[in-house]
């Protein structure tokens, strides 16, 4: 299992938390919470080792369009980059509409 952590700049407070997904084959779980400071922090645990650069690229793309100050925890069981983005967007949707 690999663990990665990344930080991203943020410009907007987020008020609600959201939980989506399941740690099942090809899927992942996302826990999104408002963070303390004005930045975003992502922690990933994945059972697919050696893909740090891919995770970084996926998150770079996500945070190029998202500016919320959130702490995100991802528990991954081999989701594809497309699936990761969809789950992240689903979590954002949950945190904006609750």
């Amino acid at each position: 299992m690999d663990t990665y952590e990344f930080d991203f700049p943020a410009t907007r407070k987020v008020t609600h938390r959201a939980h989506v997904g399941v740690v099942g084959s090809g899927d992942l779980e996302v826990l999104l919470e408002p963070s303390q400071g004005m930045q975003a922090h992502v922690k990933i645990r994945t059972n697919v080792t050696g893909f740090r650069d891919t995770w970084k690229a996926v998150l770079d793309r996500f945070f190029s369009r998202y500016n919320g100050a959130v702490a995100i925890e991802i528990n991954d069981a081999g989701a594809t980059p497309g699936n990761v983005l969809l789950r992240l967007e689903q979590a954002v949707e949950g945190s904006e509409h609750e």
Binding site: H19, V22, V23
Partner: protein
């Protein structure tokens, strides 16, 4: 949209029943748990953000899940207090570890305490599980014993309804838990058994059980067979409305006068009647036990 598509879209199409129904099996454990309650009354206990996860999986390079695959919700069903415990079959096959087992046991114990204090509280188990989590073997075995003890205490006070819908089914030690419930419900897609197909093949050989033979698997472990041989109380379609209605009907019936698992003489008689030198077919067994009026 092109012209032919808009024409198709404009025509009123009568959808077949299986497309109109909302599938129970396709929902995740959290959605399934929520579906049993009077809308808006439920709340999750020890949820994902409490981060009570398995301390053992990460040590073995397995990614943990924030709720350990066990969802506990408290709320009202038909105006009465109820607790629902649903296992997420997609996470590690719904397997029972130290944390998921402790959550399940604690939920049953709290429901039991409420009943003893005069607060009627139902319990519903939604089991999709392969049984003990191999990565937590001894702890998993221990929690099965604890769950059984807690269930036996609770079922004296209030009905415990167990639903196994699929697609995982209910196997291993958790099949014993299902068997001890006041009422047990399955879908045709669900499977229930102590030893799963692959375990039987691995231990006894492919001549004994071919785990690739789906007709054989459902002929033995399938919901219809289990229902028709009297091991299950209701067979329902994969339809949220039907599942929930059937659960509520069982809750209304209350604690059964005799639990299935207490009918030792009957169950022993049924086994004694079988000639093990004969290769029994699923349909033959259904017919035999029904004809002998031992159900």
């Amino acid at each position: 949209m092109n012209e032919s598509m808009s024409k198709v879209g404009a025509r009123p199409v009568e959808q077949p029943a299986f497309l109109q129904r909302q599938s129970f099996i396709e929902m995740n454990a959290r959605e399934r748990a929520r579906s049993f309650f009077d809308p808006g009354t439920e709340r999750e206990l020890v949820g994902p953000f409490d981060r009570v996860e398995s301390p053992w999986l990460a040590l073995q390079d397995v990614t943990p899940q924030s709720d350990d695959g066990c969802i506990v919700m408290k709320g009202k069903i038909g105006g009465e207090a109820a607790v629902v415990i649903a296992l997420e079959g997609a996470f590690q096959g719904g397997s029972m570890g130290e944390v998921s087992g402790a959550k399940l046991t604690a939920a049953l114990d709290l429901a039991c305490a409420d009943n003893e204090n005069g607060i009627k509280t139902y319990a519903i188990l939604q089991l999709e599980t392969g049984g003990v989590r191999l990565q937590e073997a001894n702890l998993g075995l221990a929690v099965i014993a604890e769950i059984i003890g807690s269930l036996l205490a609770l079922r004296e006070h209030a009905p415990v309804v167990c639903v196994t819908a699929g697609s995982v089914g209910c196997f291993g030690g958790m099949s014993l838990v299902a068997g001890l419930a006041s009422y047990l419900m399955m879908t045709r897609e669900g499977r229930l058994g102590m030893n799963g197909p692959e375990v039987i093949e691995q231990e006894a050989g492919i001549e004994e059980f071919n785990s690739k033979n789906r007709a054989l698997i459902w002929g033995i472990h399938g919901g219809k067979q289990r229902y028709e041989t009297g091991l299950v109380d209701a067979l329902v379609d994969d339809n949220v409305g039907q599942v929930v209605d059937a659960v509520r009907e069982f809750l209304r019936r209350g604690v059964p006068s005799v639990h299935r698992s207490a009918q030792i003489d009957l169950l022993q008689r049924r086994i004694a009647m079988l000639d093990p030198s004969h290769q029994w077919e699923p349909a033959e067994l259904r017919e035999f036990w029904t004809r002998q009026e031992v159900l």
